[in-house]
């Protein structure tokens, strides 16, 4: 993940936003993120050899499929369209050596719902179809209410995966639970089994069915979405492949999300881009996991909603109408 020094937030959220977007632009121009973008969204394989390199040409850094950073001459670069079968295999395997974790700091969530919108945009979902939803929670009348973003918990002991009859939903070695929409038979047993209500079903033609027609199916993005199958949060596996943070994590204006690799013991805040020590963050803040007593072993941790500097606002009631 990219690192950046912590900046003091100004009082005006507008200025913050501008600062934020220019910062993101800057980040895009350098480092791994930049290299991957230059190479195009498709993954670049390491088939390019140095001996073909012309000594006078410019070189670019490229992230290979197995996550190595290599230099290749710019004039040798071609857009590569990977074989769909390989993509599928790669999608089932996961990114080697990683164990992704997400930390959600409830004390900072003001229900901006930017995470929700970014995710729905990336995955072509309707306004009421959720990979991540923000919930208004209150444990008891004596405890304050708070907002809780709730993506799939990417459980290490996922009940949804155990019950799937056709291995359409599966757990990867990097900790992510994904769905193969070309395998799913639509029995919805996984929905019945998931205690976090993290899964959604395409009851009708997906929103972008027309626009996405003919597109190659990407198992790490669940696009094109498919009627009669399941979808859910993917920890933005496609972004991780490019070395970027998940859509929701980078979209949050309030610094709620941290994301990173448990093996490296480092997580990066999506808003401030500050990278911190994972264990310390969890320990210092009394992190917990949702319904840990069920034994599902979620990979999403929550930091309790303490010391909030803002009042709880209920958020305007929006009416959701079913679209066809």
């Amino acid at each position: 993940m990219s690192k950046k020094d912590k900046e003091k937030s100004s009082e005006d959220p507008k200025i913050d936003e501008i600062l934020e977007s220019s910062r993101r632009d800057f980040l895009k121009k350098v480092g791994i993120v930049g290299a991957a973008s230059v190479a195009g969204a498709a993954a670049i394989y390491s088939g390019y050899r140095y001996e073909h390199a012309k000594s006078d040409g410019e070189s670019v850094k490229v992230l290979t499929e197995d996550n190595r950073l290599v230099l290749i001459p710019k004039d040798q670069m071609k857009d590569y369209k990977p074989d769909p079968k390989r993509l599928l295999l790669r999608g089932r395997d996961g990114i080697k050596g990683k164990k992704w974790v997400m930390i959600i700091d409830l004390s900072k969530c003001r229900n901006a719902r930017k995470c929700v919108n970014a995710c729905q945009g990336a995955h072509h979902l309707r306004p009421y179809e959720y990979h991540i939803n923000t919930l208004q929670m209150q444990e008891s009348v004596n405890t304050p209410a708070y907002h809780m973003p709730k993506p799939c918990q990417h459980c290490d002991n996922p009940p949804c995966v155990s019950v799937c009859p056709v291995d359409a939903t599966f757990k990867r070695q990097d900790g992510i639970v994904l769905i193969d929409n070309e395998r799913c038979i639509g029995c919805r047993f996984c929905m019945a089994a998931c205690p976090y209500s993290a899964r959604m079903f395409h009851w009708q033609e997906p929103l972008a069915a027309e626009a996405d027609k003919g597109k190659e199916y990407d198992i790490e993005l669940n696009v094109p979405q498919k009627k009669g199958t399941i979808s859910k949060c993917l920890f933005s596996a496609d972004r991780l492949r490019e070395g970027a943070l998940p859509y929701c994590v980078s979209a949050c204006p309030n610094g709620v999300f941290y994301f990173g690799d448990e093996n490296e013991n480092a997580v990066t805040n999506g808003t401030t881009k500050e990278t911190v020590n994972l264990k310390e963050l969890l320990e210092k803040n009394g992190a917990y996991r949702l319904m840990a007593e069920l034994g599902t072993k979620p990979r999403v941790y929550y930091l309790p909603p303490k010391n909030r500097i803002f009042d709880f606002e209920k958020g305007e009631e929006q009416e959701y109408k079913e679209l066809t």
Binding site: Y128, T134, V163, P165, V166, F189, S197, W203, K321, T324
Partner: protein, 450 residues
Amino acid sequence: MSGSQIKSEGYSERLETVSSDILRNVRFNKGFILWMGFLILALAACLFAYYIQLRKGLGVTGLRDVTSWGMYIANFVFFVATSLVGMLISSVLGLSGAQWVKPIARIAEIIAVAFAAVAGLVIISDMGRPDRLPYVFLFGRVQSPILWDVTVVTTYFFVSLLLWFLPVIPDLAIAKTRLNGRPGILIKVYELLSLKWIHHPKQYEILRQAMRVLLILIVPLAFAIHTVTSWLFAVTPRPGWDSSIFGPYFISGAFVSGTAAVIIAMYFFRVSYKLQKYLTEDHFEKIGRVLVLVSIVYLYFNLNEFMVPGYKLKSLDAIHLKELFAGEYAPLFWGVQLLGLVIPVILLLFRRFRKPFPMLIISIAVLAAAWLKRYIIVVPPQGHPFLPVQHVPVEWVIYKPTLIETAVTFASIILVLIIVTVLSKLFPILPIWELAEDESGSDIDKTDNN
């Protein structure tokens, strides 16, 4: 007859009366054609609803992300449950030496075959991608209870079919020479299916042995099929499903609905096929007692299922139970428990109510309640997930089955009726050879001394 078998005195006369009584009904009469025509038309109308669902997706049902299993799954559970009666009557009662079940066993097997066959189709109607059905066999994973279900339901169907068919073979051989005036095709089918049966004692011996093996085999199979169905729910952590007695709870409930179905069928065949001589008041009296017994066992499991969580009132269980006892589902819940279980048990304790007609009415109530009970088991626990339901359209919060969904469900019930009609009308509904062998002849009121 081949005459190679030493039969008791008066066998051939009895055979004549029994076979003419029973084969009288095997014909394409007007009633049959009209009834089948009606069923097929109704089926076609309901299948059109399924066609709409295929085209537009499961969104045409009332199902949404909150309640994603509804009427179809409840119907599936009901079908599997009801099909279990074949095992109860033929195996449990038959093997324990209750001679009176002889004329009922075939009716029970027909019900088992019909419900088990259609259960398989019902589950397909609930699939988001029915076109991918082969994937279940191509990519099936043994960890998933769905796979266990598919395996045992299929096996149970085939074993039930055999249990129906094997004892029919001698009857077909008896009947093929006595079917004058019926369409040639029917006689040909009889000829073919009677498998060159010549009534040799050896053949009967083999038949009896095969039946014995199958009857024993089907007991664990039937227990497996419904236990596994209960595990579709019990393996999930949801309050209302997360129960360790779901297996026996489902099995005992299955016996209740299956027995009720058999009683309804018995009444119908007795009256419309004029079989009062064979399906006697005594048979109703006895199967009425069976219904009381299985209902009391089921009541006991109900008590466990609701009392224990009701005592502890863990937070989500409390919400669930409140919904059932005093909330939105209360009328349904109490209606089912009282009209479909408690009151039938009390009534059937009196001899006066163990007569054919009162039992028909009681059984209809029990069967309808059994269907609704499955609905109560499947639907309400999904209405209150662990985490709150927010920011969704109002239609998503409360599940209401749609017309299309109801029509598709009706299609499955019509299909059962079609199978039952064909098997009972075009084939002997009672075991001719077994009844003729009976020394007491056609007066089978006192058959217990065989």
